[in-house]
Symmetry: D2
Subunit: 426 residues, 4 copies
């Protein structure tokens, strides 16, 4: 029996109209491993979505999966609220050992509700508590989640329009490059902050992504990030890096801000932190800013211990030089391949965006990315679009994807672009 004829009916009949990825990739998926996903027809697809950044190690990485299965079989605690558990203890120690200590970082770790949005909401609470101020400066193109506090900081008009209430307590400033090549967006920001007649109230914090995963893959330069950090520090404004999509290695280092050499006051992590795509989110907090009292921010599933077990196993990657070397190499290879693609399709105005393993292709015709995505799906390559107008093709392979596989995937993309640019159907 095949589910094909039945399952779509189930979704049509029962699932809310708000569903979206399934509309672009209309099939029913059954299994997945590494960068492959199988559907009910037994077709295999190459996955460059990486679960919107939550599958940096690919689907079902063996070691992580094994740790989780063993833990379950052993009746480990699955749901532990924020009780002390041995699973959490092991994660904390491993995270310090593999991530914090080698980078000379001292952070307190807050486990929040297991969504990126919840981590952002928690970070905002801390920033507002610590400073006694209300406003958050967020940037054009930024995306920080869809609960009301996080949504106020998210830039996409379409998402904002769903709030049903005006979104408050956020000041919008231009991200690097938003106002054109010549414009000095940091100088712009500084003028608003420093002039008591600017009409912009001193904010509690800046919240920034180093690469805008939903905002069209714009990437901030290290210089800009350093400038931003300096601006913040000099004015008693906290710097929150939303590393939910860009963290856990996506840009080539564990944190996306390492290249810039800055130390944010607060860092939000989620998506790939569990390594297996399990819901988990956390906020890193400079110790002196850890000022929310017991229970002031909570959430039932902040104690998703299955995710802690997976996350502890996932951290092994960061103790393994082979992994980090492969990641660095892949980033170089992918960058090179995309540059080549851009040259090949120069007539489309193809421009490469992003950094490391989070990349985008923009085209002069803003509708082209959408067409390429559809053409790629016809070729069993899953690649989505990004940006408020869906104007940028978004490419996120597993971090340690085999290089040959990576080349093959880009070759399929090449073909899809050519087809879409010719105006042929998928």
């Amino acid at each position: 029996m095949t589910l094909t004829g039945i399952a779509p009916t189930v979704f049509d009949e029962l699932e809310s109209a708000v569903r979206t990825y399934c509309r672009r990739f209309p099939t029913v998926f059954t299994k997945a491993s590494g960068h492959h996903m199988w559907d009910e027809q037994g077709r295999v697809h190459v996955d460059l979505l990486a679960g919107a950044g939550s599958l940096n190690y690919g689907h079902n990485p063996a070691a992580i999966k094994a740790a989780v299965v063993d833990y379950l079989l052993d009746d480990g605690i699955v749901q532990g609220l924020d009780l002390h558990t041995s699973a959490k203890a092991e994660f904390l120690r491993r995270f310090r050992e593999v991530v914090l200590a080698p980078r000379g970082l001292e952070y307190r770790i807050q486990f929040t509700g297991p969504t990126g949005a919840n981590a952002v909401e928690a970070a905002f609470k801390t920033a507002r508590r610590v400073t006694g101020r209300t406003d958050i400066v967020a940037f054009t193109g930024g995306f920080h989640g869809l609960s009301l506090g996080a949504l106020a900081a998210s830039a996409t008009a379409f998402k904002r329009g769903a709030a049903g209430v005006p979104l408050s307590h956020v000041t919008r400033m231009p991200y690097e490059g938003f106002t054109g090549e010549g414009a000095d967006t940091l100088d712009h920001l500084a003028r608003f902050l420093d002039d008591p007649g600017s009409g912009v109230d001193l904010p509690a914090a800046f919240v920034v992504e180093t690469v805008q995963g939903e905002g069209g893959l714009a990437a901030a330069s290290p210089r800009w990030l350093r400038g931003l950090a300096d601006l913040a520090a000099a004015r008693g404004i906290l710097l929150i890096v939303d590393d939910i999509q860009t963290g856990c290695g996506r840009t080539g280092t564990f944190f996306s801000f390492e290249e810039a050499g800055i130390v944010p006051d607060l860092v939000c992590l989620a998506k790939s932190i569990s390594g297996l795509g399990l819901p988990m989110a956390l906020v890193l907090i400079r110790p002196e800013l850890d000022q929310l009292g017991p229970g002031e921010h909570s959430g039932t599933f902040r104690g998703n211990n299955l995710a802690f077990v997976a996350a502890t196993a996932a951290l092994d990657h960061w103790a393994d030089p082979a992994f980090t070397t492969r990641l660095r190499d892949n980033a170089t290879v992918l960058g090179g391949l995309l540059d080549e693609l851009a040259r090949t399709h120069a007539r489309t105005g193809c421009a490469v965006r992003g950094r490391g393993m989070i990349r985008g292709l923009a085209f002069t015709d803003e509708g082209l990315a959408e067409k390429v995505s559809r053409a790629a799906f016809a070729r069993r390559l899953l690649v989505e679009t990004s940006g408020a107008r869906g104007q940028v093709l978004k490419i996120m392979p597993p971090l340690a994807m085999d290089e040959d596989e990576l080349r093959r995937a880009v070759a399929v993309l090449d073909d899809a672009i050519a087809t879409a640019a010719r105006g042929d159907g998928p």
Copy 2:
């Protein structure tokens, strides 16, 4: 090697000060099964927390765990965004078959970010979109989550104070009983809604819990709930039942509003929906209200397929008459035991709250619940407090707990109350 000496250090050194349950129950838990939790010293505790309502079937129920392990071993999709997956299809069909169809309910199902708060945020968006209005009427004692939109509807001063911004777009009305025995809170509400000089704007929706799990276990009567539903319907106001803690059988039926015989416009479910304590949340929406467009509310982990697999297995309970019979019996037994407890400790003013398997004990001395909780922990019984002042002891056993075990647990509680009431230490 024992972790005892080490692990607390790890938490103290690394985990944010916001952690809270671990302060009341200061040990490190390692394993759990049914209503038992083991700690690093090998001690076994009886758990009446039920993961704040997310473990209605107890810890690690065998059938659910087995389904999850099998799925993992078979490389099922763990994280699927909102792609169609066979795991989701099976959950949808099973949910319709076991939950919706037998109750004559027609709902669309929206998978939201996997926290209750996110389901509430999504329900508010739909209510605001459908009505074009901004305000939500929430009730005294209500708890709906801690992201900014949900927090505005939550009543606890302590949690609200962490927002750092004024909380808007919510009007507060008295829950049944809040203003005293005689007061007609529905009449009160109707006056505010119907008088154009009341100063209360017509709301988009009411959001209500049938039993206030965080708000001291106040329980609304079926009559009150019907009156509320009628008030809403007559005025084009949507009725949202937040069944996050009270749903999935906690009050004795799958939905907590079944006894009242009402059909809410929107229902939020989370906590126990996955059956294993895995993060999962959803909103049930009357089909004609399903008006958010593709992607208007999204979230990476709304595709937690491991939870779908668990949830599908968990629904088997609701097709099993033995389970529902046991649940009903347990509710009767627990009610009887607690009534007896109240009589025994009449001098403490002990009063029974709640309904079904979500129960509370209030005392004249509001600090007593806290002391009882500590005394119970010393007896290896995990029982927490509820209410903005922690004034009510909250009792949530697994739904199908063995009756003898239930009696033993209440006997320990009896002893703990006696000790606490005497003013002895734990």
Copy 3:
């Protein structure tokens, strides 16, 4: 030449559709004296509008007018910002001498922009500054002005709907009597304030009218006002009495709260304070609460010195026992006449509202007040309606109106009610 044929055209062609009194009383007025107004046809009307409470001493009272004319002829300063002027000095001294000192009151006086709404906005700023809290508790039926801060505290749905944005930072509570005879609205309020699980944040202030001039002439009892003041004092909440319409003698004493024997933290005055209907507004502030710094609230016309001159002259009334005696007598006479009216028209369910010289008549048929107003206008009696549904006839004679004239006016009203109740046209 008569303006009759021309002037209405001018209004139709040029004046905004937002105009409203002129629609109910469609003629062009030219002159006025005492309780009389003349129109272009030379008809004389009896005015029971009192300029919505800004003409307590009638139109163009001779002594006040003379003072203003003399001051103008003498090139006194008309507009003085908040510079020290001799006109302001004289007002301050006279206000202390005649109003504050005899009542044992110590207040600082803030001259605000010359509208009641601006005084309310200023009082809210002080309350928020002093307490560090954001919310204001306002009451059902309350009216405090239409600028955004004041409008949030105003209750009428129709006025609120014009804001175009959600109105925030105000909590609405029932005014005495709103929830029915038996309901204890102070107990209700106290429960919300004292229960940390009520969901109502501790407010900066209560803002209250002792008689609701726009809200249907509901009058709070002295007992209720004292209870409210006690509630506020015990919780560090400031009490703002909005005495804009009820102050300056309207209820029988200079301040409307004198009968209750309370001393508000802040008092807003406007409307009749200048005595001539000139724009002027002020806030009285307990000295220790006078915490806004130089210029933190300002406004060009807060220095309307012509109004100070008029106001100084107007205060002579309060040093004149004949005036206060007449006022008291008139209040008694008016009350008696209206009680008689109510008996006469018992079949309409006519009920007397208000207090002193600010009175209302409510009818079972809520549309009747409107019809009476139109019938009265046909009889050259100007009397308006109040309440969010225009359901109460509002009667505000000059305070010291001649008793016979008062009787004649009520006789006309009697006739108008009879006609309207019979369903005849005006």
Copy 4:
């Protein structure tokens, strides 16, 4: 008897600490005529404050004063709510005849509460009603009043800080020149409006001053204003010109936007509209936007008929070519004198700001303006500062001041600058 010793005591004892002009100019003023003000010591001061722009025709202009006195003596209606009165009719006809018709403008006229802030609040309500949107774009350095709705649009940190609540529903954009010489602020604005990923919601309106009277006398170029008007029109955004301080001739023409050749959707007027410094404010509305219904915005003193009488008389100036010629000449003379001053004091970095008869002098040392103001007062010249840091000297003579007097006043200023720059005391 001199009041000197007494009056200050009265102010100290009774007037709120919020008073501000009197601190800079510490004397008690008694009389005023033209550009002269007398104090209690009989000293005469030259007034370049012009009542913060409300005395464009000087103090007590004879013809206006005479009209007002005659009206009073004749028992004209002083306070008329928004009843039709002959005084209002005459103003409307005269305003059409002298102001609207000659400029080919068609506007409806809304009389609002008699403060500029109230006119701004009313304009915002109309803009939000017409567009169904909530946000207003306001500019750096802008000042629009201090009631909550207007304050949200005002830029000065010090004034905003007095709100006590976060200020919402306003988006701040750079005024011409704010981000430096080279920056194209209109292009900047357009990018935010046109990119659905900018995070700035489409606004209901822009609100702009052509010269920023409180914001340091920055003046927008005609080109910039035209660009702004085009931006608005192309996107269905309303353009509100706040001409409260710059209107009524202050920049050299009746409306300050005439030079730019634009026709705003809404215009706010107040300050000098009555000509005598009496409180009066209005909004001009394009007829098709006049969508507030009867009474949706109201206010007791919108019927200040004394101001209508004065305003009608004041409009005679605009029918008198001698006045407009003198105004133009004065603007030229003043500009020349200030340019000369700037050259003389080039060492202070003195730079001329503003346009027409609303002028500023900025200095390299931002504290110098304050010192000059004090030195000028010692020389009996009243001149204030502007800008959020008080960094610009603000010069506003009566529009038709005698040229020789103007030269004398600037000579005194010259001396004051020299003294202040030397660092000598006043």
